[in-house]
């Protein structure tokens, strides 16, 4: 039996929920991930003789990995019966198994770089537009509408009516481009993040037997952070969960919808409640924030008029700390504002600094802050999603593995050659590799290795990696062996860094640590011996390559990236009109959807704080006088 004694009454009611649909409205710091984990563990624990699995969908791979760890300590024997995944990872899994229906092979790849997507779109435009017309439609211009179609889960054949309904001009042409884009991706055995979901929705609607099979395997579906779900993801969810007798357990916070720009919509929560006739349990108990923060958060969010009428206020469950919990920092200019935050943080003990976070609405303010901090002796880092490795060694290894997975991919040959030049100083030409491949059954990898080995400029260590059989290892699909051998080689590069082109090893150490971490994460998801080369590459593509923050650095996050995280000391900067709320929201007015979203962003930001919250603003941003944010007065911390 799972011990539920550490849960409060509401949490316990949610955890003990049996069959049927349930919405858990969970405020910040209310232990929602805990509730979700316990609920899954309890379901599995109560049915030891059953074989069904529980699908837990989270919003990030990181959250999934964390839940996996928690699950394992709670119920080790439940490991194989809980699949903790994201919409994208799960979609990829479905396509690896059933992609043959739409023309995908199990080893399809994922396009994560915007440049690659644009190139694919440009090709689709050229194919879909007659004659010279393609010139009038640069890919960059059509990408936003393609992204909207993908985000809304529009199946290719539905594009025209969707565009017409949205009164888009040239709907027929754009629909043609959209269809051509998706089918060209499939033809190249690749997908981007958006099409991953759309193609799965299309597959499941065309082949209901697959949906049925998934429903029989995954009898229970749980979704975390449902408020961030876009239309495409909701469509996929509806395919996975039947309309009758749905065992759907959704955790959400309607106050934390801040991804409207990405297709999230506060109304989707109302829709799922109606679509599945859901019961609701609220978790208003906040265990994270000091009482004073809870108080101002409640005051702030009440200004959003579209709030559900039955929504309960947060209740404070954490002791008030010793220091003043909420402080206002006011300066004249943004530079002074940043300097003020800096000196405040510097007053703290050095080992307290990594527990400080600077939050801002925009990346622009954060970059200013990081620049200021770094030049003034306060290490700081800003978190950015990174789609590709940057350092030479890892670019080489990554592209080599991609080439191994797709032996006739010219683009990967180009990357392998380029990265090899950066780390080994040997310039192998793509044309030569391609030409030589005619004697290697068209296998570019084999041909590249042979060319490299034939080149006298290749050093002993590199030669060892290639010779000791990159080819042989890859033929047996033993990518772990190649990776291991490569890292041994990379270690020797450090000693001769001076011989390498400038910057070839920049970021190498961080990225090597990231690679190792992601590799472990992927191995945990599938089981190490079962990670095939293509599932490994798909796993890498689905994950951000962002390095872990240096241990002594102050974190600087946008409000969006800080979602779901908590910090002892929160500095929220730029609390001025046109910053937070944004200029666009101010322009649309106080009752606009945009303003409500800004308010929720502010709500999310302040509820990250465990001990202290510092709210800062300046009266001048970039030469423009700005009034203090309306949210300050709504929170009741300054007079309006």
């Amino acid at each position: 039996m799972i011990d539920l004694s550490s849960l409060n009454t509401n949490q316990r009611r949610a955890v003990e929920w049996g069959d049927g649909p349930l919405l858990v409205l969970a405020g910040p710091g209310s232990g929602k991930t805990r509730v979700l984990t316990y609920r899954i563990a309890r379901l599995l624990d109560a049915t030891p003789n059953e074989r069904f699995r529980v699908l837990g969908i989270t919003f990030t791979n990181k959250a999934a990995a964390e839940m996996r760890t928690r699950m394992e300590s709670l119920l080790p024997e439940g490991r194989d019966r809980a699949l903790l995944s994201t919409f994208h990872s799960f979609a990829a899994e479905i396509l690896r198994q059933h992609g043959s229906h739409v023309g995908l092979r199990p080893d399809f790849t994922i396009l994560s770089q915007e440049a690659d997507r644009e190139a694919a779109l440009a090709a689709a435009i050229a194919g879909a537009c007659p004659g010279d017309e393609a010139r009038d439609y640069p890919a960059a211009r059509l990408m936003p509408v393609v992204d909207r179609l993908l985000g809304d889960g529009v199946r290719p054949h539905e594009a025209n009516s969707w565009l017409e309904k949205g009164r888009y001009p040239e709907s027929a042409l754009i629909a043609g481009v959209y269809e051509a884009y998706v089918s060209s991706l499939i033809a190249a055995n690749q997908l981007d993040f958006g099409s991953l979901i759309v193609v799965v929705c299309d597959l499941l609607q065309r082949t209901p037997a697959i949906s049925k099979q998934l429903r029989r395997v995954y009898k229970y579906v749980c979704v975390d952070e449902f408020q961030d779900t876009n239309a495409a993801q909701y469509r996929l969810l509806q395919e996975l969960v039947p309309g009758t007798n749905p065992n759907l357990f959704v955790v959400a916070d309607d106050e934390q919808v801040i991804y409207q720009w990405n297709g999230a919509d506060p109304r989707r929560l109302q829709k799922i409640r109606a679509d599945y006739s859901m019961d609701t349990i609220q978790l208003p108990e906040d265990y994270r924030c000091p009482p004073e923060v809870v108080r101002i958060a409640n005051r702030l969010i009440k200004h959003n008029e579209d709030r559900a009428p039955d929504k309960q206020d947060l209740t404070a469950n954490r002791e008030a700390g010793g220091e003043t919990c909420v402080r206002i920092l006011r300066r004249d200019t943004v530079h002074q504002e940043i300097a003020g935050i800096r000196s405040d943080i510097l007053k703290r003990a050095p080992d307290d600094r990594p527990h400080c976070v600077v939050l801002a609405r925009t990346r622009k303010l954060l970059e200013l802050a990081v620049a200021d901090f770094s030049t003034n002796g306060l290490p700081a880092c800003v978190s950015i999603r990174k789609t590709e490795f940057q350092s030479g060694p890892l670019r080489w290894l990554h592209s080599l593995l991609r080439l191994a997975n797709s032996r006739q991919d010219r683009e990967q040959v180009r990357r392998v050659c380029k990265a090899f030049y950066a780390v080994e100083g040997v310039d192998l030409r793509v044309e030569d590799v391609v030409a030589r491949s005619s004697v290697c059954e068209g296998d570019f990898l084999r041909s590249w290795v042979q060319l490299a080995l034939a080149n006298v400029g290749v050093g002993e260590e590199a030669r060892r990696v290639l010779d000791s059989g990159v080819i042989g290892l890859l033929e047996r699909a033993d990518h772990w062996g190649v990776i291991e051998a490569s890292f041994k080689w990379f270690a020797t590069l450090k000693q001769k860094e001076h011989e390498l082109p400038d910057g070839a090893l920049d970021d190498y150490d961080d990225e090597a640590a990231t690679w190792t971490r992601l590799q472990q994460d992927i191995a945990d998801e599938f089981g190490r011996s079962e990670v095939t080369l293509h599932s490994f590459l798909q796993g890498l593509d689905l994950r951000s390559k962002e390095p872990p923050a240096p241990p002594d650095a102050v974190r600087c996050y946008t409000i969006h990236t800080a979602k779901g995280l908590e910090f002892k000391h929160v500095y929220l900067m730029g609390l001025a009109e046109d910053q937070l709320p944004s200029w666009a929201a101010v322009k649309k007015g106080d009752a606009s959807l945009e303003m409500r979203e800004e308010r929720r962003s502010c709500f999310v930001a302040i509820t990250r704080a465990e001990l202290s919250l510092s709210l800062s603003y300046a009266s001048d941003y970039f030469g423009w006088a700005k009034r203090p944010s309306r949210f300050l007065s709504e929170m009741g911390v300054i007079k309006g």
Binding site: E50, R51, F52, R53, D80, R96, Q97, H98, G99, S100, H101, R105, P106, D107, T207, P208, A209, I210, Q213, R216, V217, G469, I471, G472, E475, R476, F526, G527, S529, E530, T532, H534, S535
Partner: protein
């Protein structure tokens, strides 16, 4: 779960073979046609002790062609098993959940699982490499998951009963099935101790009564001086096993012989032994399935020559037992008697064509109800052995039926050893035979008379030759069969067979008249009958200085021998 299809490439004697299986499938074919290879292939992929670390193939499993061939250069082995639902939602949740990541959905909406086991030599690694893969519909390997293979083997365990069934071997401690019943003592400790006490007492009284052992004991005890042994009582002689488990492991099955004496099963005739092992197998199956597998498990039983050593009517009765075994059955048999009771759609005939093993079956819809009834009567019930022939020589009547094998013999050819079977079709009609032969990949050739009836048969046969050449399928004599013999110099046989007055009265014409031969032949046939006349002609043909086999007949004999060699 139904194993619907098996596809074998480059495994032992098979280069490429694919065929569908039914709930019960009976494999027939000559020796070396691949029946055992098919059973072994199924066993190899699904036998439970297999796992990825143990190589499934040995070097001689590779398809070696030519004496200089080497398994390292042999083409890769691939064995693919396709399991399919027969109707929607046939597989219960437990099966779907267990096999989740291996499942595919076919265009029909039915689910399937495809497993491929392959092996080849990797020249770079200098070793043989193997893989177990589940495949998608396009034949691409799905991401690996070792759990799935175990699940499939659990849901579809294979039980393989090989042809050689020596009961003395099977009913002993180390055999395949018997130990299942002798291990796992089901006695409580108190009862066991009581029994062991009693055994000890009996033991003692036997030994007390039988003095010669004392001498032995003291002599053997001297060994203690040379090698370390226990200090006291170091030699014991047991007349009976002292422990109950030991006793169980030595249990014997005895069956009463016709004399009433109870003999160990190994002392009975081969047929009885074979049956006893078969029933042991059934008992083992039932016990094993009940304890080691889930309710959803459905075994595949691979049975080789279940008929071995049994007399014909026992073989026919055996079918009832086999049919009643739980699970999907794949049988290999050489028994025409068994085939005579097996439903026609279950039969797969394996045959080598141009060196390549192929599987033939009667495809649904090719035979009409009437055809099936006729075949049921004329072939299955009477002559199951016909399924084992390579070529059917279809003849109009008894005369040819008796004559042709002997004529072949005289020309130095032998129908039996070459797999040629002679069948009369006049009662049943040509069509059912030719259709069945076409379906089963059996060569056929029809010999018809040069009369009006023969013309009709020729027409029917022409409609059934498919892609074959007409000369390979049909021979029409210039005259009828008897006239052909008459013309070739056997007129005197007919003339001398007309003995009795009423037959002689049937001959109205004089020698030399055009109607004379017809009248003589008719009279002879009505007197002694077709078989006797045929035998008489054969005798005349084998006597010195005879005119030999008529050329038209010799052509037919050569033709069927040519056909079986293709």
């Amino acid at each position: 779960m139904l194993l619907r299809r098996i596809t074998i490439e480059n495994f032992r004697g098979i280069t490429k073979l694919a065929f569908e299986l039914d709930r019960t499938t009976v494999l027939v074919g000559e020796n070396n046609s691949g029946k055992t290879t098919v059973l072994e292939a199924i066993n190899l992929c699904l036998a439970r002790q297999q796992n990825r670390r143990v190589p499934p193939f040995e070097e001689y499993d590779y398809h070696l062609s030519g004496s200089a061939s080497d398994p390292r250069t042999a083409p890769p082995i691939s064995i693919q098993l396709d399991f399919e639902e027969e109707k929607a939602d046939e597989w219960p949740d437990a099966v779907v959940q267990a096999l989740d990541k291996a499942l595919q959905v076919m265009a029909s909406g039915l689910q399937c699982v495809r497993l491929r086991v392959s092996g080849s030599y990797d020249a770079t690694l200098k070793e043989f490499v193997y893989s177990w893969d589940f495949l998608d519909l396009a034949g691409k390997a799905l991401p690996r998951n070792p759990r799935l293979l175990g699940e499939l083997q659990h849901l579809c365990p294979v039980f393989y009963l090989r042809a050689v069934r020596d009961a003395a071997q099977q009913f002993q401690g180390k055999a395949q099935f018997w130990p299942h019943f002798t291990r796992n003592l089901q006695l409580d400790d108190a009862k066991r101790e009581e029994l062991e006490q009693q055994i000890e007492e009996i033991n003692q009284s036997v030994l007390d009564a039988h003095k010669p052992f004392d001498e032995i004991k003291s002599r053997i005890a001297k060994a203690a001086a040379l090698v370390p042994l226990g200090q006291t009582d170091n030699v014991a002689i047991e007349a009976l096993p002292a422990r109950v488990f030991d006793m169980l492991s030595r249990t014997q099955v005895k069956m009463a012989a016709t004399t009433g004496a109870r003999l160990p099963v190994g002392q009975h005739g081969a047929g009885t032994q074979s049956l006893a092992v078969l029933f042991l197998f059934e008992a083992f199956l039932n016990a094993k399935l009940a304890e080691a597998f889930t309710a959803e498990s459905e075994p595949i039983l691979a049975l080789e020559e279940p008929e071995a050593h049994l007399h014909p009517s026992a073989v026919r009765a055996l079918w009832g037992t086999l049919d009643g075994l739980k699970g999907q059955k794949v049988l290999a048999t050489h028994s025409g008697d068994l085939l005579s009771v097996v439903p026609l759609p279950c039969i797969r005939r394996l045959a080598r064509k141009g060196g390549v093993v192929q599987a033939f079956r009667v495809n649904p819809g090719t035979l009409s109800k009437d055809d099936e009834r006729k075949i049921g009567y004329h072939i299955r019930a009477k002559r199951g052995a016909l399924f084992f022939a390579r070529c059917w020589l279809l003849v109009e009547g008894e005369s040819e039926y008796w004559f042709l094998p002997e004529a072949a013999h005289l020309t130095g050819k032998d129908f039996e050893s070459n797999g040629v079977a002679c069948l009369e079709f006049s009662q049943c009609g040509l069509e059912p035979f030719a259709k069945l032969a076409n379906e089963l990949g059996i060569e056929w050739h029809v010999l018809v008379d040069g009369d009006a009836e023969g013309a009709k048969y020729e027409k029917t046969a022409t409609g059934l030759i498919g892609a074959a050449l007409k000369e390979d399928r049909i021979t029409r004599l210039t005259k009828d069969f008897e006239h052909t013999l008459w013309d070739h110099g056997y007129d005197h046989v007919y003339e001398s067979s007309v003995g009795r007055p009423q037959q002689r009265a049937m001959i109205k014409s004089a020698e030399g008249d055009p109607d004379y031969p017809r009248e003589v032949i008719k009279a002879a046939l009505s007197g002694v009958g077709k078989p006797a006349l045929s035998v008489a002609v054969v005798e005349a043909m084998s006597s010195p200085g005879s005119p030999g086999v008529p050329p038209e007949i010799a052509v037919v004999i050569n033709k069927v021998h040519e056909l079986v060699r293709r």
